[in-house]
Symmetry: D2
Subunit: 332 residues, 4 copies
C-alpha cells in the first residue's frame, strides 16, 4: 500500500446520458450524442478513465474508432461491461439460463467483448449478470443453474487469461433474487473457477442494499487472494439501488471505505456508476468525483495513522468524535 | 357487513400487456392489441370489472367507444387512473411540483379524467401520485409542497362531488420518498380536504413494502369514516414493489386481510395490479384472482366466527394452529 | 421562529446507567448509583435538562427529593416517561390490553406520573407504549384495541390539561407491530382525542427505522397544529433501533433535520435517548450533544438562508455540493 | 437422498423456559425447573432430540447426569451450544476479541464444551458467535479480527476431529454487524480452516433476516462439500430475528425449503429455535414441530417429482398454482 499513490477516477459513459425507470421508459430528459457525452466525461476534473457497455457503446466493428476518440479526449477505457441484461433474450438469465442456446449466446457475447477488450488493450471485463436469478418460489433449480453459471464464466475467462473478469454482485433487481448477490457468494464462485483472472467488483450501492458493511466486504475480498478487481461508486438509502450522487448520504461510511481500500492494497479504478434520472448527468457525476477527491485529500498520512489507531482500539465514542472534529472543526 | 355478499373482482388492463423495467425499456415480451387484452380480461373466471389508465387506455374522445367495448365483453369500468406519472413533464411532481404551471396541468389532467368517468358512469378515480415526492436531502420544501398537493386534490374533487377519489399511497419508487407514503399520512391529507368523496386506496404490495400490517391499515382507514375506497392486489417480498401474483408469498396475511375487509365493511372492488414481467399476463393475473376466490370460499360464516374468537382471544399458538389445520387438514 | 434562539439539550437519565439486551440481561457494564448518574449528566457541556422514567427514577414518594437533587446539579426535569413497558403485567399491552383490569392499571399508572409531574412542575409526559401492539396474524382486534388505547390517553390527558402528553411512536420492538408506529398514525390518534395537550414525540431512530424522512415527519406534525411536542435523538442503520451516538452515521440527514426543526418552529427540548451498551455512558451521550451543538453552530443565519434557497430550488447536485463544501471546506 | 427417510426433530431446551428482551430482563413469564422443561420437550409429538447450551444447561461436572436424564425421557442430545455470548466478558467478542486473553478464554470454553460432547457422545457443537462483530464505523480491524476468529475455530476443531462444528451465521444482533453474517461468508471461513469437521448451521430466521432465499443458501452449502451441518427453525417478518412459531408466516417458503433439504441430501436434525416471549413455551414449540411434520407429510414421492418438474420448468404461474391447489384443494 502506497498512501501517496493517487486514486484514478473513471465514469460509466451511459451515466451521462439518459436513464429511465419502469414508469417512464423514455427517461426524464433529452440525451446528447455520444461524442458529446465523451467530451463531458473528459471535462470532469480528475476523470481519466471510461467504462463502456458492450453493443451500446462499443462493438467489434467500431472498437478502434471509439478507442481513438477516447484517446483524443485524454481518456482510457478501463473496463467494458457486456450487455447481458438489456435484451429480451436474457430475460430468464444469460449464463444461468435454463435454455442451453441462451447460455451459449451469453458465452459468445462475452467472448466478443473480450476480443474488443484485447484489441483496445482494455484490461478488465466487468460482468454484471442482472438477469441471472429468480423471482418466485419453486421456479429455480439452484444447484444446476449456479453450476452452469460458474462454468460459463470459467469457459470464457480461461480463453482470455490476459484479461481480468470482475463479477459485480447485486442482491436483487431486475430479478427478485440474484445468483451473484453478495461479496462472499460471488467470491466463492470466482474461486470455484480456479482462475487467477476472475475476481469481484464491488458496487458500493449494491453492498449497502445487501446489508453489507462495504469496508468489511472489500477487506474480505482482498484477504482471499486480492480478489477485489474493480469498484463502482454511488449512494443510496440502504434499501434499494437508488444510484445517487456519491457521498450525498453516507459521508462517514465513505470515509472509512476509502481508508480500507488503500489499506488493503486496492489499486484498481474508482469508477462512478449512477443513474441521475432527473439531474444533469455531467454535473451529478462530477459532484461524485469531487466528493471522493475531497475524502482522498483528507486522508493524509497523519490521519491514516490516526485511523489505524482508532480501528485497533475500537472505542466507538473516540472514533465518532474523531470523525466529527474532522468534519466540523469543532472540539467539544 | 354482509358475509354472504360476494367479492367483485377486476383487473388493471395494462397488467395484461407488456411491462418494462429500467434495464429493458421495451419489456420482456410482445404485447397484443388492446381489444385482445380486453377479451383476455373478460375470460378470467370471476372478473367483471376493469381499471383503465387515462390517455393510455381511454381519452375524452374515445371514452364511449371504449366503454361500449367493455360492455360487449361483459365488463364494467370500475376506476380510471389519471396518467400523472409516465410523462416527462411530471418528472419533478404533478400536484406537488414546484413549477405552478405543472401543478395547473395536473389539475387539468385530473379534471379531464373526471369528465370521462362521469361520462361513462365510472364511480371512482384512483390517484397514484408516484412522481410527487423527493430524492435527496435538502431538495424538498415539505410544508409548501404537501400543501399545494392537498389543495390540488381538493380543487378537483370539490368540482366532481359525484365521483370518489381514492389516493393510492406508496412509500417510494419512482421517487426515493413519496408525499403519500403510507395509509395514515394519506388519510390525513384526505381528511384535510374536508371532502367526503376523497379517500384512500390500499395497494397491498405498497403496504407490505411500507412495513405495514395491511389488515391493520384497512381497519384504521375504515375506522376514520369509511375511508377505504379501493383495493389493489399483488404480492412481494416486503422490501420492494415486486408486483407478483397474489398469494404467491403471503398466504396467511392474505387470509387475515380478506377477513378484515369483510369485517370492516369494505364494499369496493378487489382489483388486480401486477407486473407480470416475464409471465403470460392473463395467466398470471388469472392465478391472482383464483387465489383470492379460493380464500373467499374458505371464509365461510362458521370460519368467520372462529376468526372473531381468535382475534378476541389473541393466543398466538392457537391462531397459528387454526391456520395450519385449515391449510394442511392435519390435526397435530 | 427565532433562529437566534439556542437549543436546549437534555438526556434520559437511564442512558447513563446500564443497558441490557436479550442475550445479556445484566448488561455489559457496572452501573454507578443514581446520584452519580445525575452528576455525570450535569457535567455534559450544554445539558440542562433531564428525562426520568416513572418508578425507575421517580415516584410519588420521592418526587420532591429527586427534583431538589436535580436542582442542586443545575438540572430541570423536562419530561417523565411512565413505565408502561418494563413490567410483566404490560406484556400484552397497557392502554390497549385486552384485559380491562390491565387497561385500568395503565390509566392509573399514568395518572400517578401526571401527579408527580404536576408536583415538580415538569411540563410534559412522554408516553412510549412499547407493549401496545401485536406479534402474529389473527391475534389482534385492531379496531377495538386502537379505540381503547385512544380512550385511555384521552381519559388521563383530559384530567391534566396543564400537562402535555407526547406520544412516542416506534414501528416495532418489543412487539412485531406497534399501534403507534409512525408519525402520521400517531398524530391521527392524538387528533382523535380532541385535546390540545396531546401531541407527538419523534425519536429520530424510530423514524429512520420506520423508513421515514424525519425532517418531513417533523414538518408534517407541525403543519397539523404544532403537534411536535418532544424530540429524542440517537442514530441507527435504518433497519433497527440501534440507539447509537447521534451523528455517528446520519450527518447529512441530521443537518437537514436541525434546519427544519427551527424552520417549523419547534421549541421543545433536544433530548438524548441512547443505549450505550458497551460504551461509557456519559462519554457516549456527551458526544451526541457535542454533535448536535456542532451542527447548531454551523446553522448561522446566512446558512439558513442558503438552505431556504436550496429547498426552494430543489437541485440535487447543488444541494449535495453545498453540504460537501461545508463539511470538507473544498470547492470542486 | 432417500425421500422415505423421516426427518428427526429436536428442540433447544431453553426455548421452553423463559425468554427476555431488553425492556424486560426478567422475561414475561415464570420459568419451570429444568427437569420439567425436559419432560415437556419429550412430550411434544415427534421430538426425540435436545439441544443444550453450555454452562446454562450442561457442564463438565453434571454432563453424565444430564445425559442420563435425557435418556430416561427418550431424548438424545443432538448438539451443544457453547455460551460465548451471554457473559459480560464476551461483550466485545469471543474468538475475534481484540484482547488476546479473551480469545484464549473463548478457545478454552469451546474446548470444555467439546469435552462434554465427547463424553456424552453428542456429535455436534453449534457455534453462534453473536458478540463477534462490530457496531460503529472506524472501530473494527476487519482483517485482523476475521483472521483470529478463523484461527480460534481451527484450533479447537483440529483437536476434536470426531466432533462436527457448525457455524451459525446471523447478520446482526446483538452487534450491528456480525463477522459470520450470511451463508457464503461463513462457508468461506469454514473452508479456510481446511478441516472436514467445520461446517455451517442455517437458522432459517437469520437467513430470512439477511435477505437470503434460504433454499438457495442450503443448496449452496451442500454444493461446496456437504457443508450444511445443522438447521435451526423459526419464523419472522424478514427484517429481524423475531424467533416466531415455524410456519406462522412463511408457509410457501418452508414448503420449498423442506423439499430442497431432502433433495440436497441434508441428513441432520430439524431443530426448533424460538423465543416464545409471551406464549406457553411447550405449546409454541410443539406447534412448530407440527407445522414441519405437516409439510413433511405432504412431500410424498409423487409431489417431490412434481416439484422437480416445476423447478426445472420455471413457470412462475404454474408453480404458484400448484402450491395454491395443494393448500386450498380448489382447482381454478
Amino acid at each position: 500500500m502506497n498512501p501517496s499513490h493517487s486514486n484514478r477516477y473513471s465514469v460509466i459513459l451511459g451515466n451521462l446520458g439518459n436513464t429511465c425507470d419502469r414508469f417512464l421508459p423514455t427517461g426524464y430528459k433529452q440525451v446528447p450524442p455520444k461524442s458529446e457525452l465523451i467530451r463531458q466525461a473528459a471535462s470532469i476534473p480528475g476523470v481519466t478513465g471510461i467504462e463502456l457497455v458492450g453493443s451500446w457503446d462499443i462493438t467489434e466493428n467500431n472498437a478502434e474508432e471509439i478507442n481513438a476518440e477516447l484517446g483524443r479526449n485524454g481518456l482510457t477505457c478501463v473496463s467494458i461491461i457486456p450487455d447481458l441484461f438489456s435484451q429480451m433474450r436474457w430475460g430468464n438469465g444469460s449464463f444461468s439460463a435454463k435454455d442451453p442456446e441462451i447460455r451459449k449466446q451469453a458465452i459468445d457475447e462475452t467472448r466478443s467483448v473480450s476480443r474488443i477488450a484485447r484489441k483496445i488493450k482494455c484490461p478488465l471485463i466487468n460482468l454484471w449478470l442482472g438477469q441471472d436469478g429468480y423471482d418466485y418460489p419453486l421456479t429455480a433449480d439452484y444447484s444446476f443453474q449456479r453450476n452452469v453459471l460458474m462454468e460459463g464464466i470459467r469457459t470464457v475467462a480461461s480463453e482470455f487469461p490476459d484479461i481480468k473478469y470482475a463479477l459485480e454482485y447485486k442482491p436483487r433487481e431486475p430479478r427478485n433474487f440474484s445468483f451473484q448477490a453478495r461479496a462472499a457468494d460471488t467470491l466463492l464462485m470466482a474461486m470455484e473457477t480456479g482462475l487467477d483472472n476472475v475476481g469481484v467488483c464491488i458496487d458500493v450501492g449494491h453492498g449497502l442494499m445487501a446489508g453489507e458493511n462495504v469496508s468489511d466486504s472489500a477487506v474480505m475480498l482482498q484477504h482471499y487472494g486480492k480478489k477485489l478487481f474493480h469498484m463502482h461508486f454511488n449512494d443510496n438509502y440502504r434499501s434499494w439501488d437508488d444510484d445517487m450522487i456519491v457521498g450525498s448520504l453516507h459521508v462517514v461510511e465513505y470515509f472509512e471505505l476509502l481508508f480500507w481500500l488503500k489499506e488493503s492494497g486496492y489499486e484498481g479504478w474508482y469508477s462512478m456508476d449512477q443513474y441521475p434520472y432527473r439531474e444533469d448527468g455531467a454535473s451529478a457525476v462530477g459532484e461524485s468525483v469531487a466528493f471522493l477527491r475531497s475524502v482522498e485529500k483528507k486522508l493524509t498520512t497523519e490521519r491514516i495513522n490516526q485511523i489505524r489507531t482508532l480501528v485497533t482500539k475500537g472505542d466507538a465514542t473516540a472514533s465518532t468524535r474523531w470523525m466529527r472534529e474532522l468534519l466540523f472543526r469543532i472540539q467539544a
